[in-house]
């Protein structure tokens, strides 16, 4: 059996399905529901077995169209940085507020992607977010939490 990344993914999916199935069996159902034809764990149990079946098949059957990914051509560094920036954005959005975190997220993302036109970067972050926020919060009346703007008295 030829081991390639697709097979490894299938193996991981097989393990995931087994874990899912185990967790499905652990779902607590009401005593009167225990022997019912269908309860909260019935569908997940079917799914767990189906997952095992298909990933098992993918594991054992030959893979004629092996996909080769040239890892040296992939931009892992920039993608990783962008993901980290997104995580920081997610972590600070509630505490600091929508306007500042979103604007900084956009500005730093442009920068790390190689952009150096500062004026355009600024226009497409701070004023852009302000306009977007006005559309959501001001026009459409969709609540956006923003402790920062509240602290400086811009938002009520």
């Amino acid at each position: 059996m030829n081991i390639n990344t697709t097979k490894i993914i299938s193996l991981l999916f097989f393990i995931f399905s087994a874990f899912y199935l185990y967790t499905a069996y652990q779902i607590q159902v009401f005593a009167f529901d225990e022997n019912a034809p269908f309860n909260a764990r019935t569908f997940p149990i079917y799914l767990g077995y189906t997952g095992l079946f298909f990933s098992g098949l993918k594991l054992i059957l030959p893979d004629p169209d092996t996909i080769k990914v040239e890892h040296k051509n992939l931009e892992y560094k920039k993608t990783g940085i962008l993901i980290i920036i997104a995580i920081i954005y997610g972590a600070t959005i509630l505490k600091i507020g929508y306007f500042l975190t979103t604007s900084l997220f956009l500005f730093t993302s442009y920068y790390f992607l190689g952009e150096r036109r500062w004026v355009l970067m600024f226009l497409l972050s701070f004023p852009f977010v302000a306009a977007f926020m006005y559309l959501l919060h001001g026009v459409l009346d969709i609540y956006l939490r923003d402790p920062f703007l509240k602290s400086i008295g811009v938002m009520g």
């Binding site: 309860n39 997940p44 997952g51 962008l82």
Partner: protein, 500 residues
């Protein structure tokens, strides 16, 4: 009936109402393009405003907003691969690849014309079949719905070419597994939440679709930036914004639109089925019906593949008004909101509405139709400008896609956990996409998962645990036989093709 139609038309065609519908279409398109805000939210946002008008004008405003939001949703699906609502997911399967080939304007024009044609044809079906179809829709039982979901899943065949069937099936199972997270709908027992309160309500559709489509697409573009095999073509702005549909493409649409409108309308009539299942079924059916060379283009920018779901989801939107107006049963979230608005105006939809107040019934139908006409007139000239979103340099476009995705989930949930979960799913999806695991089957299964479990539960409980419900009713048997025939046909063709 003719009298009712004329009264409806005369109400909808006053200067004030045409102006109102234009405003509605414009705002609907903008709201629909924003992630997380679909037609339901758009209409809900408009309800307080509509109460300032008389009932007919209020309904006409909502009609404009409704179709505008549906078109706006298709626009973000085609341009950014970010379908904000389930009904436009299937649009992105071929719309986005077409936009990536420099045909964004054309893709938007095909979507606009298909939506318009789907809506027009379904309005005609509505004229002649509304009262009788409402009775048919009530004859559908849980086993039939369950069989219908299985039939909907056959659309994954479209992504299982080149020996990718097992990968597509694994993605289906993963989608169903994600849909099973959260409280069980009947017993309220929490499943797969691992004592995390944030997962109690399950994973939202917007989160999954934004993570697997928009966000993972953005990450893939960055990841493959220097990959010589994936070097992006430089397309001119003129090409990008061209809305010209040539004779061959029109020919394809002429075949696709009538059949997709029928399936869309019929599915739309069934309470609870709606535009999502209609668009997936139409997509799958279209792939089964086209010639082999066209079939190969599905998922890569096929005209039929784009036209079919767009026609069907609009036809389903009109179809969903049948149970709402004739039975008082809202068939979808959007019609539920509209039902609330109708009740607010003092209009009680139900069997008596069609008999005793035909003018109100036809005013609603006609205003929906006029909303579509206005939308086409307003949006077609704007397409070349909307399409230029794709001309925005990648250094700006990628962060903006990420920003829209994160905002889409933030305005719905207001918690950090959902943002982390979305990033996590997006990273896994990006990795899976590198190895050709298709994402559409995952979304299809995620959307159908809850409904499937619900109908399987009812069927099994009613049949006391026996699987005989699958062949007890003629309708269930017919749907399942169709499903089996489609699957067998695919297997036969794959085997036959390999041998030949």
């Amino acid at each position: 009936m003719i009298e009712g139609i004329l009264i409806g038309l005369s109400t909808a065609l006053t200067f004030q109402n045409i102006f109102v519908v234009m405003i509605g279409c414009f705002f609907g398109t903008i709201i629909g393009m924003l992630p997380g805000l679909g037609p339901m939210t758009a209409i809900a946002l408009m309800i307080p405003i509509t109460y300032g008008f008389d009932p007919a004008t209020g309904l006409i405003l909502m009609a404009g907003v409704y179709y505008g939001a549906v078109f706006g949703g298709s626009t973000s699906s085609i341009l950014l691969n970010a379908p904000g609502v389930p009904g436009t997911v299937a649009t992105s399967f071929d719309g986005y690849p077409m936009a990536q080939q420099g045909k964004a304007g054309k893709a938007l024009a095909i979507a606009a014309w298909s939506s318009f044609a789907g809506g027009t044809l379904s309005a005609i079906y509505l004229l002649f079949m509304a009262p009788s179809l409402s009775k048919v829709s009530l004859s559908f039982r849980s086993p039939d719905y369950f069989a219908l979901m299985i039939l909907g899943l056959t659309a994954i065949a479209a992504f299982s070419s080149k020996g990718q069937f097992l990968k597509a099936m694994m993605m289906v199972v993963l989608g169903l597994m994600l849909a099973s997270v959260g409280q069980d709908s009947l017993s309220d027992i929490t499943r797969f939440t691992f004592n995390n309160m944030n997962l109690t309500d399950g994973i939202s559709f917007v989160l999954v679709v934004m993570a697997t489509f928009a966000m993972s697409e953005a990450l893939t573009i960055i990841l493959k930036r220097n990959d010589p095999t994936a070097a992006a073509k430089q397309v001119s702005l003129t090409e990008l914004g061209s809305i010209k549909i040539d004779k061959e493409e029109r020919g394809k649409m002429y075949k696709t639109i009538p059949r997709s409108s029928i399936i869309g309308f019929l599915i739309g009539v069934l309470p609870g089925a709606g535009a999502t299942i209609a668009s997936f079924l139409a997509y799958g059916m279209e792939r089964n019906l086209v010639k082999d060379d066209e079939k190969e283009k599905f998922g890569k920018g096929s005209v039929n593949g784009l036209s079919a779901p767009e026609t069907a989801n609009n036809a389903a939107c009109s179809g969903s008004f049948v149970p709402m107006l004739t039975l008082g049963i809202p068939g979808s979230g959007t019609t539920a909101v509209m039902l609330g608005a109708l009740l607010g105006f003092g209009i009680q939809p139900g069997p008596r509405l069609y008999m005793t107040n035909p003018e109100i019934f036809w005013s609603v139908i006609m205003s929906m139709y006029i909303g579509m006409v206005v939308l086409l007139i307003l949006n077609l000239p704007l397409i070349p400008y909307i399409a230029r979103i794709l001309a925005v340099p990648k250094n700006y476009l990628i962060p903006l896609i990420l920003f829209f995705s994160i905002t889409g989930i933030y305005v719905i949930s207001f918690n950090n956990f959902d943002i982390y979960l979305m990033i996590g799913i997006a990273v896994v999806a990006t990795f899976l996409r590198l190895y050709d695991f298709p994402m559409p089957p995952l979304i299809l299964a995620f959307v159908l998962g809850g409904l499937m479990e619900e109908n399987l539960r009812r069927s099994l409980l009613l049949s006391n645990g026996s699987w005989e419900f699958l062949w007890d009713r003629t309708l269930t048997l017919c749907i399942l036989t169709t499903t089996i025939l489609i699957v067998v046909w695919h297997i036969y063709k794959t085997v036959f093709k390999k041998r030949s």
